[in-house]
């Protein structure tokens, strides 16, 4: 393997050309789009959120399932996995757009009205998920460091699926605003929790003490505040240009460039790309003195982007690694404990902070999906514990399994929540 790492970009480039990877990439995309089209048809017909259909489709198209088909040999299935993995940058761009959407939904007015409960809900739901999962995993006899790692990862929530459901059902109201803001802020709190806990877990694992907390805490704070400043600056510039430009081409390029560029720059400086684009969205919404009329265009642009994103998210599941009973037990415990923590923590916070009735009742149902970010965290754990591969692999596989599951039933619950809270503006009873 190490020999291969030494191959030059030029050699790999020749290989890509030789094997017609570009054509294969195109085949894969057309194949995905065709299925996505069928998913849209079915999802609309049976009135389930489209995102559920996409993720489910992704699960069906995951390499493990694909390789079951009789005429697909090992080589083809490997090529499939490879071509699929080449699309991973789409994930980043899609997430950036989602973050932008979240930010642009948050007006200063909403924050003034709901700010207190939003903050307490975000803090409590992430802390509670961490505590409950850590305790549960520890109680079934796993070592403390592993329980801590599971707990830290459990605090993260994936905004994408939830936001997409809210958009699809044209949801509007206090519950919607609260969910939007909480899934956004969650990223910051989960980041802090993970950054704090991960070194503690590592020293537990190594059996050495002494962690420098000031150091541990500074890094995530830089990540967060750097992202906020960057996002606000870019967002300010973007809305200035958007007001000046009145032609469609210029407007669209301004938006797409701002979003992609803020992601790039924040990745470059090690800031949180998600928070940066939330701030961009927030700045564009709140600095602009008039309605910029861009939401229609963003909607159109993100239709194919999200389709690819959620299908790819689904394909990340790996069934072949999941045979053993002890694995299924830990996955089940993780999933249940996290739900208890998220729902319990957020509901409690909503009650304490005097949130509107609908928020108290339903807030937990918008916080269940977990995906890309959590899997990325699990991946970093896997690398940190490279000398003990079982640890990393167990966490990684748990996340792969549960993330796909939460992305399927999470959006269903979110839909249930907004429809029952009466915040869906779409007529869901008949078509």
């Amino acid at each position: 393997m190490n020999e291969l790492i030494n191959f030059s970009a030029h050699e790999v480039e020749n290989w890509l050309v030789f094997n017609n990877i570009a054509d294969k990439e195109l085949y894969l995309i057309s194949f995905f789009l065709l299925f996505a089209f069928l998913v849209v048809l079915l999802a609309k017909k049976y009135r389930i959120p489209i995102v559920v259909g996409y993720v489910f489709l992704g699960i069906l198209l995951s390499p493990d399932i694909i390789s079951i088909f009789p005429r697909i040999d090992q080589e083809m299935s490997n090529m499939y996995t490879f071509v699929l993995a080449n699309l991973d940058y789409v994930t980043n761009i899609a997430l950036a757009f989602i973050a932008f959407t979240i930010g642009s939904e948050l007006s200063i007015k909403t924050i003034k009205r709901l700010g207190k409960s939003i903050f307490s809900i975000a803090i409590m739901e992430s802390a509670a998920a961490f505590l409950v999962v850590t305790a549960a995993v520890y109680m079934i006899g796993r070592p403390l460091y592993m329980a801590l790692l599971f707990g830290a990862i459990a605090s993260a929530t994936a905004p994408a699926a939830t936001v997409m459901v809210l958009k699809e059902y044209n949801a509007e109201g206090p519950l919607t605003s609260t969910i939007m803001a909480v899934v956004g802020l969650d990223d910051a709190f989960a980041l802090i929790i993970f950054s704090l806990i991960s070194p503690i877990a590592y020293s537990q694992y190594k059996g050495e003490g002494a962690i420098n907390f000031s150091e541990v805490l500074v890094l995530p704070l830089i990540e967060i505040f750097g992202a906020i400043i960057l996002g606000l600056l870019f967002g300010y510039a973007a809305q200035y240009l958007l007001i000046k430009f009145n032609e469609k081409t210029r407007k669209i390029l301004t938006i797409v460039t701002t979003i992609t560029l803020s992601s790039s720059v924040s990745i470059f400086f090690g800031f949180s790309a998600l928070i940066a684009n939330m701030s961009v969205g927030f700045a564009v919404r709140n600095f602009a003195k008039k309605n910029l009329q861009i939401s229609e265009e963003i909607d159109t642009l993100t239709i194919p982007l999200y389709a690819m994103f959620f299908i790819i998210a689904g394909t990340e599941i790996r069934f072949s690694e999941m045979g053993s009973l002890s694995f299924l037990l830990i996955a089940f415990i993780y999933l249940t404990a996290r739900i208890i923590g998220k729902v319990g923590g957020s509901t409690l916070a909503a009650r304490i902070s005097g949130a509107p009735e609908a928020v108290k009742k339903y807030i937990g149902l918008g916080l269940l999906p977990q995906s890309g970010v959590a899997i990325a965290l699990a991946y970093s754990v896997q690398q940190q514990y490279a000398q003990d591969p079982e640890v990393g692999l167990l966490i990684f596989n748990t996340l792969l399994l549960t993330a796909a599951m939460t992305e399927v039933f999470g959006p269903l619950l979110t839909k249930y929540a907004v429809v029952n809270a009466g915040e869906s503006q779409m007529d869901t009873n008949h078509h």
């Binding site: 393997m1 291969l4 790492i5 191959f7 030059s8 970009a9 030029h10 790999v12 480039e13 290989w15 890509l16 050309v17 030789f18 990877i21 570009a22 054509d23 990439e25 195109l26 085949y27 995309i29 057309s30 194949f31 789009l33 996505a36 089209f37 849209v40 048809l41 489209i50 090992q74 080589e75 490997n78 090529m79 996995t81 490879f82 993995a85 080449n86 991973d88 940058y89 980043n92 761009i93 469609k248 081409t249 210029r250 669209i252 390029l253 301004t254 797409v256 460039t257 992609t260 560029l261 992601s263 790039s264 720059v265 990745i267 470059f268 909607d299 159109t300 642009l301 239709i303 194919p304």
Partner: protein, 427 residues
């Protein structure tokens, strides 16, 4: 080429390799970089009133390797990664090409053509073939190989709808000349695409890699073109049928995207021209539909970033180091001038035989000079298809980009002149 990493085990490692070098991040950097250039391009093109395509191509040229090499502090590592990522993201340019051609097809409205009368066909055929034949001959006479003359000729048939529309909009032009011009520039692009599909196997034969000239050789492209058209028409028919039944935006957008990418993929699988398939697709969607499908708004939105990337990328592919030779400069100049003579002459000739309105006969030739997206797209295809003659295909590519940039800058001035003199401009 020796292929040292074929087995499954190594494919997995290649993935690891991508991970180690963090390609995912590099790809995002590259996209952001291109988009920033696109922003600069739209700001500059607005200021100097240039077609946006020209702006994109010019900013692409700025980042072409020969220019970037002039900057001292850029390391060679940057270049190798840049080249690498471009190859890895090649499918994006294929999708962009598909959409460019699809858009051309979807602008061919038979209803409009019927209204404008038969003269538009005659004008199109004569001006497009005039440009093609004269420029092919001229280029051949100054010593270019015959395959190069043929390919350049096919590309010469195309003109630029985008910059024409820009001028017409700017002057709020209305009347027989304006509407005929719109139809003709749409049609000659179609003709150029078909001509290109017919010519490339012949050119391939002259290079010596194809089969000898035979009935079969001439028949094969005809069969292939028909098959590609069939794919486009069938998918197009189904798509428009579906889209006309729904009014949900997601459904429309996903159906449209699927049909474009699927037509490309299918024609690739069967070794057919994906350009022709998508042209037929656009045509079918436009003409089979009994009502306005209201998709052009969505199509515009989706293709804006895609086109920006594509044309910047096309500009970046230009190689100045290959342009210094007198042979290149002479051929390019001859191509530029002979194409204009052929087009203008063809249009004048058509005016004699057709029953078009006098303003049309007199001025239409002036509006056909700009060479735009389709020419660039075709030049791009040459570079992709004719890999066995890298130098010649690069030369064709350079020449078309160069002349396209020039004609897009001065061509619209003539279009403006035509519109003003005909009295159709509203000022």
């Amino acid at each position: 080429m020796e292929n040292s990493f074929e087995s499954a085990f190594e494919l997995h490692n290649l993935q690891e390799w991508f991970h180690v070098y963090d390609l995912q991040t590099k790809e995002i950097y590259l996209l952001a970089f291109f988009l920033v250039l696109a922003m600069l391009a739209i700001i500059v093109s607005k200021k100097y009133n240039l077609p946006i395509v020209v702006g994109y191509v010019l900013f692409g040229i700025v980042i072409s390797p020969d220019i970037l090499n002039l900057i001292p502090f850029l390391e060679s590592e940057f270049h190798s990664w840049y080249e690498f990522l471009i190859i890895k993201l090649d499918y994006i340019t294929q999708i962009a090409l598909a959409f460019i051609v699809f858009t051309i097809g979807s602008e061919l409205s038979l209803r409009t053509f019927r209204r404008l009368g038969k003269s538009i066909y005659l004008i199109t055929i004569l001006e497009a073939l005039g440009g093609a034949v004269i420029s092919a001959l001229a280029v051949y006479l100054v010593g270019a190989p015959i395959y190069m003359a043929l390919l350049l000729g096919a590309i010469a048939a195309a003109s630029a709808p985008a910059s024409t529309i820009m001028v017409l909009k700017e002057y709020n032009a209305e009347g027989p000349l304006s509407s005929t011009l719109m139809a003709v520039v749409g049609l000659d692009n179609t003709l150029a695409l078909i001509l290109f599909a017919l010519i490339s196997p012949v050119a391939m034969m002259f290079i010596g890699t194809g089969e000898a000239l035979s009935f079969q050789l001439l028949l094969t492209p005809v069969v292939e073109i028909s098959a590609a058209i069939l794919i486009g028409l069938v998918i197009g028919y189904l798509t428009q049928h579906y889209i006309s039944m729904v009014d949900d935006k997601t459904k429309k957008v996903v159906a449209m995207l699927t049909s474009v990418v699927l037509s490309s993929a299918l024609s690739l699988v069967f070794g057919l021209s994906s350009l022709i398939a998508n042209l037929a697709l656009g045509f079918a969607i436009r003409n089979f539909a009994e009502k306005n499908l209201e998709i052009s708004e969505y199509l515009d939105t989706l293709t804006i970033p895609l086109y920006a990337m594509f044309f910047i990328f096309a500009g970046a592919e230009i190689r100045f180091s290959q342009m210094g030779s007198t042979v290149f400069l002479i051929t390019a100049l001859v191509f530029l001038i002979s194409r204009i003579i052929g087009k203008y002459g063809g249009a004048i000739l058509a005016g004699r035989f057709s029953d078009a309105a006098p303003v049309v006969k007199k001025y239409i030739g002036l509006g056909l000079f700009p060479q735009g997206g389709v020419a660039i797209a075709l030049a791009f295809s040459v570079q992709k298809q004719f890999t066995q003659i890298p130098d010649a295909s690069l030369m064709i590519f350079n020449m078309v980009i160069l002349t396209a940039a020039l004609t897009e800058i001065f061509g619209p001035l003539f279009t403006k002149e035509a519109v003003i003199r005909s009295g159709e401009a509203e000022e």
